[in-house]
């Protein structure tokens, strides 16, 4: 390949400008580090977003277009892979935070030592994290205050130590939240307003978040939600140190003679190739695409992909799974109000309890059923067409809600991301192939959680309850972790405790890839807190060497 261009060397290159990449960019740029950010997707402004379910959910206005960005999935290494839009995340500046509604619970201290707590689980590759909750805690607080998270300190009785409260009080109470609290209370379970990346009142010069129905999975035309796009990207850009280049697809990382990353080879929107050199490289593409880029970067020193000397890159991948029990009520719930995601949660079934017969647990939270309309939803088990289907749409739309789980799926050595040997993307690069079979523990835990969700519905007066058990893991919640585990032992992990590759001294990963275990809660707050922690360390080391 001939390079048309070789831009000026940067201090740091960050690949990806989503939740984690923009967090790292903010911290580095504010400390005076000159950053070049290479983002595959566009840099969209708030004016480009609208309340349009068809465009945003069905027509890939925000989701990746599967004809351009396919993935494949197979159950085991011996089954044939088929094209499957497995665990997509919006690919653009802001990443998944562009269309999220930002549930931001903290995980608990036991999540950082699951192997110690639960012991070995046959078939799983459980591991403790090399860091503790206490090491991450200050960074949780930093993200919460930078974002203006709306929540209530102490309301989650299972939460670990907090060094400070939330900057904004909880969001207004939706009718579906009322039902959820009523059900939990009747069962004697603790429930709490789910901390959210939204402003319940003006904060830091920003106005309160507009409470539309087009929220979850929709972009925010008002710019009032808290997202990487609305907060961290502008923070980084304001320093003058952030050279963010959208629509730049990194094809591979190259090595220098010392075995350090020399450059990122990327292609811009017009198809021109560039070689971008830097002192250090930070990967923030999401756990699937980060693993893919590492594996695409083959060299004499790393014939199976950079930092993959131990064949661990892409392994132990975890995805959670979103499923729910749906309840219908006599009175109207309007679970589309607030997009169905101005929510409440319970951690009552979150912690490991050996008496249940499976490892760990997950949080349960209340949600709407459409996004917001019944275009991409139908009542589980009900007909999809005809008079009965219409009757159900009419009678249930305003009267239904979901109690949903975040499944804490188990890491397994054989579950992995690697490169497909047949399918390429619109840039001619092999796509990510997911090999994934749920562990028995995932199915058992999922059934337990859905049964508890149904308990909440029943206790809150639901007339009709339908359970949807997760028989498969489909990657339907965009959460992805584990493909470049962090650990103290270079034999069993890809990254060290500072998320630097054991094998490549100027390579860092700050998305969900470092997570040794999935946890049972939405991961982005933890991802951003960890990215901030790693960026702080990079800044401190830079101070030592200059």
């Amino acid at each position: 390949m001939a390079f048309n261009n070789k831009p000026a060397r940067a201090e740091a290159v960050i690949i990806g400008a989503g939740a984690s990449g923009s967090t790292a960019a903010k911290v580095l740029c504010e400390a005076g580090v000159k950053v070049v950010a290479l983002e595959k997707g566009p840099w969209r402004k708030r004016e480009s977003f609208g309340g349009d379910e068809l465009a945003n959910i069905n027509r890939y206005n925000l989701w990746p277009d599967p004809l351009l960005n396919p993935r494949t999935w197979r159950e085991t290494a011996s089954s044939r892979a088929r094209i499957d839009q497995f665990c997509p995340v919006p690919q653009m500046v802001g990443g998944g935070t562009v269309h999220w509604q930002g549930w931001l619970p903290r995980v608990t201290q036991n999540d950082f030592r699951l192997r110690t707590i639960a012991g070995d689980l046959a078939g799983a590759s459980l591991a403790d994290w090399p860091i503790t909750y206490d090491e991450l805690e200050p960074y949780y607080l930093k993200v919460e205050w930078a974002f203006g998270v709306s929540g209530q300190a102490g309301a989650n009785h299972f939460e670990s130590h907090r060094s400070g409260g939330y900057p904004c009080p909880p969001m207004p109470v939706s009718r579906y939240v009322e039902k959820f609290h009523k059900g939990c209370s009747a069962l004697g379970w603790n429930s709490f307003p789910l901390p959210q990346a939204a402003l319940s009142r003006p904060y830091n010069g920003r106005r309160a978040t507009v409470i539309s129905a087009f929220a979850q999975q929709h972009g925010d035309p008002t710019g009032t939600r808290s997202s990487a796009l609305n907060i961290f990207v502008p923070d980084a850009a304001a320093t003058g140190n952030y050279d963010l280049r959208p629509q730049c697809v990194v094809r591979e990382l190259t090595l220098d003679r010392q075995g350090r990353i020399k450059a990122a080879i990327y292609e811009d929107g017009e198809g021109n190739l560039f070689e971008q050199e830097a002192d250090l490289f930070i990967l923030a593409c999401g756990a699937v695409e980060t693993a893919r880029l590492l594996l695409l970067s083959k060299s004499g020193r790393f014939p199976n992909g950079v930092a993959n000397g131990n064949d661990l890159v892409g392994r132990n991948v975890t995805f959670h799974e979103y499923s729910a029990a749906v309840g219908t009520y006599e009175d109207p719930i309007y679970a589309w109000a607030g997009g169905g995601y101005v929510s409440a949660s319970t951690f009552q079934h979150y912690e490991h309890d050996p008496s249940r017969g499976f490892v760990s647990g997950g949080h349960l939270a209340v949600a709407g059923v459409g996004i917001p309309l019944p275009i991409n939803w139908h009542l589980p088990g009900a007909p999809t067409w005809g008079a009965e289907a219409k009757k159900i749409d009419r009678e249930y739309f305003n009267h239904s809600l979901a109690v949903a789980m975040v499944l804490h799926d188990m890491p397994q050595h054989e579950n992995r991301v690697d490169l497909d040997d047949k399918v390429v993307d619109a840039w001619g690069l092999p796509v990510a192939r997911i090999t994934l079979k749920p562990h028995r523990n995932d199915l058992d835990q999922g059934r337990y959680l859905i049964d508890r969700a149904a308990d909440i519905l029943e206790a809150s007066g639901a007339l009709d309850i339908r359970k949807v058990y997760a028989d498969r893991i489909t990657g339907n919640c965009s959460h992805q972790h584990g493909t470049a585990r962090m650990g103290d032992d270079p034999e069993s992990s890809v990254l060290d405790r500072w998320c630097r590759a054991h094998e490549v001294e100027n390579l860092y990963v700050v998305d969900g890839s470092p997570f040794p275990t999935a946890t049972g809660a939405n991961p982005t707050l933890t991802i951003m807190a960890n990215a901030w922690r790693v960026a702080d360390k990079i800044v401190a080391e830079r101070g030592n060497t200059t």
Partner: protein, 214 residues
Amino acid sequence: MAEPTFFTPHQRATVEAAMARIIPSDDTPGALEAGCIDFIDRYLSGIDFIFAKPDGSGFEVLEGKAAESWRQRIEILRAKYNQGIADLDTRAQSAFSANFVALTPEQQDSILGAVDARGQAAPGVDEAADSSGPALQQTSTEIDLDFFPLLVVHTRQGFYADPIYGGNRQQMGWKTIGFHGPLSMKDVHEGRYTTLPFFAEGEAEKVREFHDGL
């Protein structure tokens, strides 16, 4: 709507009739009144009506890789419709010696029921046995669907998507199910649309000072 169309008049009448069985008219409007046929005809006409501008002022012009992808996708969908419509007539001729559009609603239902590969799940089933169903999938890949499930999806889209796409006339779909949507996409775009009045009793009052449109 005087716009480029994809269907021949016979195809259009056939799809319109099938859509009218998917969301039938009763004491409230169905696919027929909501103009679901205009929605799908417009969609299949090319790539000029894929994404509405977010303020509702028209449609985006697709370029580059997105335009290539959408041309490819529309071709795939057109082929499914051409074949699926012909199949409805073949089945109708075989069973009732008439084209689909000429059948009684009951006869049309029997043809559609036979085409519906997944079959009709009985109402009130406790657990969704159909793991391939879209219930909790958050993304959609239309081009993987067979003709009939595709037609069902498009009928629902035409009934419930924003009226700018040609269906859901006068927000009929929204009114039918009681969705208090925005007056227009522009209202959402400019931040005037709020759902706080549909929150718990008294909640909107507490935060009135922070919100427009209440």
